[in-house]
């Protein structure tokens, strides 16, 4: 029971982390980055390589994965998003999905279709916390998600760079007129979000293994977390991540594993119908319509 709760909270932490990354990009650019979870997926494979081929310690692997994630994020923004902004079309969903599919394809080509495990944190074994069992990796995931969520919230509400990003997401043209470098901000948001999901990839890999189709499931569930928590809300993502993860694990335990995704899907439909602005929406900004 408590073990299931821990399992739910830790997988929920993964969803929340991806949702936080979605939010960073959303606040900075108003774009939904379909490929975000796929960047994490690539990170898990790099973590596997770092551990098994190069015997790097965990902390170095984290740095390497963060750098790789940042690089992919930056390249993605320049290749798949910036060009579109110039042509005035809104096909970001298609181009970022394209990037995600390419990343899956690369993973399949380089690392094959077998799931790979990563040996990090194995030495701690399974811990006993509050009467439930949890691995060190899972525990760290929960802590990291909390730190990242609160950190992003502080960053976006208390620092000038965060406020700049918020202002830009409200009104891009007005921000430009105020001398904000909107383009730099967009690349920065993609890079930061890429670095975040890259950095947590070694921890995620201890829980989910590295597989080339890891991105798909993470992408949709993190979207649910985003919708439930409210677009742009970092704290909402933390709470919603916990709800979704726990619900999923309890459904899997008591109804059977085939019900895991179906239950979450039903929750998504209900959220969209009943709570379309999520638990913590900042209220829809009044937009000048005409």
């Amino acid at each position: 029971m408590i073990t299931t709760l821990w399992a739910g909270l830790s997988i929920g932490a993964v969803y929340a982390l991806v949702a936080i990354a979605y939010n960073i990009v959303f606040v900075g650019t108003r774009v939904f980055n379909f490929a975000q979870a796929y960047i994490l997926m690539i990170g898990t494979f790099i973590a596997v390589e770092a551990a098994t081929r190069f015997n790097l310690p965990l902390i170095v692997a984290i740095v390497v994965c963060a750098a790789a994630g940042a690089l992919i994020g930056a390249v993605e923004e320049i290749v798949a998003v910036r060009r579109l902004a110039r042509t005035g079309s809104h096909n970001e969903l298609v181009t970022t999905l394209g990037i995600g599919v390419i990343l899956s394809g690369i993973a399949l080509l380089v690392w094959g279709s077998e799931p790979r495990s990563v040996p990090y944190l194995k030495e701690f074994g399974v811990l006993e916390v509050l009467g439930g069992r949890i691995t060190m990796g899972e525990l760290l995931l929960i802590v990291v998600a909390l730190v990242a969520g609160v950190g992003a919230w502080v960053l976006s509400t208390r620092t000038s760079i965060g406020l700049t990003a918020l202002a830009t997401s409200e009104d891009r043209d007005a921000a430009m007129l105020r001398g904000i470098n909107v383009r730099w901000l967009a690349t920065g948001a993609f890079t930061l979000a890429g670095a975040l999901v890259g950095a947590v990839a070694p921890l995620v890999a201890t829980k989910t293994y590295a597989t080339y189709h890891l991105g798909e499931g993470l992408a949709v569930k993190a979207f649910l977390v985003l919708a439930l928590g409210g677009f742009g809300s970092f704290l909402g993502a933390l709470l919603a991540g916990s709800i979704v993860g726990v619900l999923e694990m309890f459904a899997a335990r008591y109804l059977g594993s085939e019900w895991q995704n179906i239950t979450v899907f039903v929750l998504l439909l209900i959220v969209l119908l009943v709570l379309p602005h999520g638990l913590f929406s900042r209220g829809k900004a009044q937009e000048r319509v005409v």
Partner: protein
Amino acid sequence: MRIGLRRYLTAPFWIIPLVGALIVLALPLLGAAPAVLRVIVSICLLALLVVGLNVTFGYSGELALGQSALYAVGAYVAGYLAIQKFDLSVTFFVALMSAAVVGLLTGVPGLRLGSWSMAMVTFFLVLLVPDVVTLLTEQLGGPSGLTGIPLPVLFGAKLTTAGYYSLVVTVTIVFFAAVRNFIVSPHGQALRVMHESPVLARSLGFSVTRLKLTAYLIGAIPAGAAGALFAYQDGYISPTSFGLSMAIVILAGSIIGGSASIYGALVGAAIMVIGPLRATGVQQFSLIIFGLLLLLGALFFSGGIAQLFRTLVRRYLVRDEVLPDAQAAVPSDELISRLRGETLVVEQLVKRFGGNTALDDVSVTFAAGTVTGLIGPNGSGKTTLLNIVSGFYRPTAGSIRLEGDDLGSLQPHQVARRGVARTFQTPVIPKGLTAAESVAIAMQSAHGVSLPAAVLRLPGYRRTIRRHRQEALELLALLDIAHLADVDASALPLGTRRLLEVARALAADAKLILLDEPASGLDQGEVEELANLIRKLRASGATIVLVEHNFEMVMSVADHVYVLDTGRIVSSGDPDQVRNDPRVTEVYLGTAFAEKEQ
């Protein structure tokens, strides 16, 4: 050699694809190899999926990735029923309905949160297919697949392989014809309007949610049909046929062929089937290839092959000319004499945006059969007032009544249907519609053609279309722009687009006409003509509100003038009273100037 525009627009070009389709249908009789026929069946199935996606994605702008899941629904429903010995007519119909129901269940929530939520909900739906099939292992065969689906039996007669081939091609022809009829009808034009500007669609009386849901359902049904046909192809289906890679293939086919096109779906499907899908040697590269197709297609080739084809034909094969009915169109007084103005009363209206009060205790009356001028400096709240009257903003307090009917709680499309028509400060003229079409579309929501009539081309369809075109031409003639009836309206110069918006506002049989800065961008002569038209409309009984910066023009046509400043009415009266009111001089030219004048 070039053909004239009239021929290009009116010749029955649909005969070309129909003849092509009949040739394809006859291929077995011409001795085509079974392998060729098999490829054609695959192309037809994929084309059905892609054309459905084109309606939702290309025309209505919602990226629906769930075609592959609806394909699965159609296939499993038809397969299961076929094993229970049901006739093809039953299995096919139930499969279509099931796809529509699943589409509806996911479409309604998916449309709630803008474009990402549709993409993610439908993407999720695709991921669920293996889970659902596993849960229903007893009925659907589980992960290892559903076997033993018999050859189709249609009305009691067993179909041979050749019969199955004809069935697939015939179904494809029928669905393409239906989707084509839908898209070229005013319903399809409404989708294009909405894709370009949801605001305009609503102000023309269309419910955006309803339009999107209709498009999504019309896209879902061909997917169900494709699934039902697919179930019979090999007598065996498994969840692997309906995975994410299928969803990606469908999207790639749509983008290559051109998402906003009908026949492009066929071309895109053919390219995908003959190209990447058959090259089994590159299996491990397939994801990378599909991903690149999406990325590069969306970046550099957003109109697809269809757009390329249309541009080339229009540029090299068609000669521009004015169509005879446009040449013959005369301004019709009968049309404007139909206008029956009503009185709008706004009382104690307040509108706050956060802490910013845009309108503060505004009470105005736009009397039936008069022209009311609304003037004031930039930011004084004129457009905010128009936006509240037309339903785009909710008032913070106060009431808005049109002949006693409360408008304050209505949605914009309901306000439009109640009889409020408007133009926009920056003209909103959707791409891809001619001038005549963009006027005629304003007649669709109130008394247009029904969906079945449009898809099936029932007898009333042509009559209504012809009448709407005739009325649109007469309205254009009223504004002296009938000769531009058949050119792409979005490419017209600013002044002409403004006049076009006025014509569109008149087309809706409006009880109240809101003109938001109609004279800016017009030259002196055009302003004169516009003023004359406004006087003529008033003479026939229309109620007109004129928001304008052109002081002289307002003074020359308005019966009554309100002056707004920082959200308050500072002066009102007939043009002479307002002209001589010192407060007005003060608002426009500053206090010092007003004092000096005195």
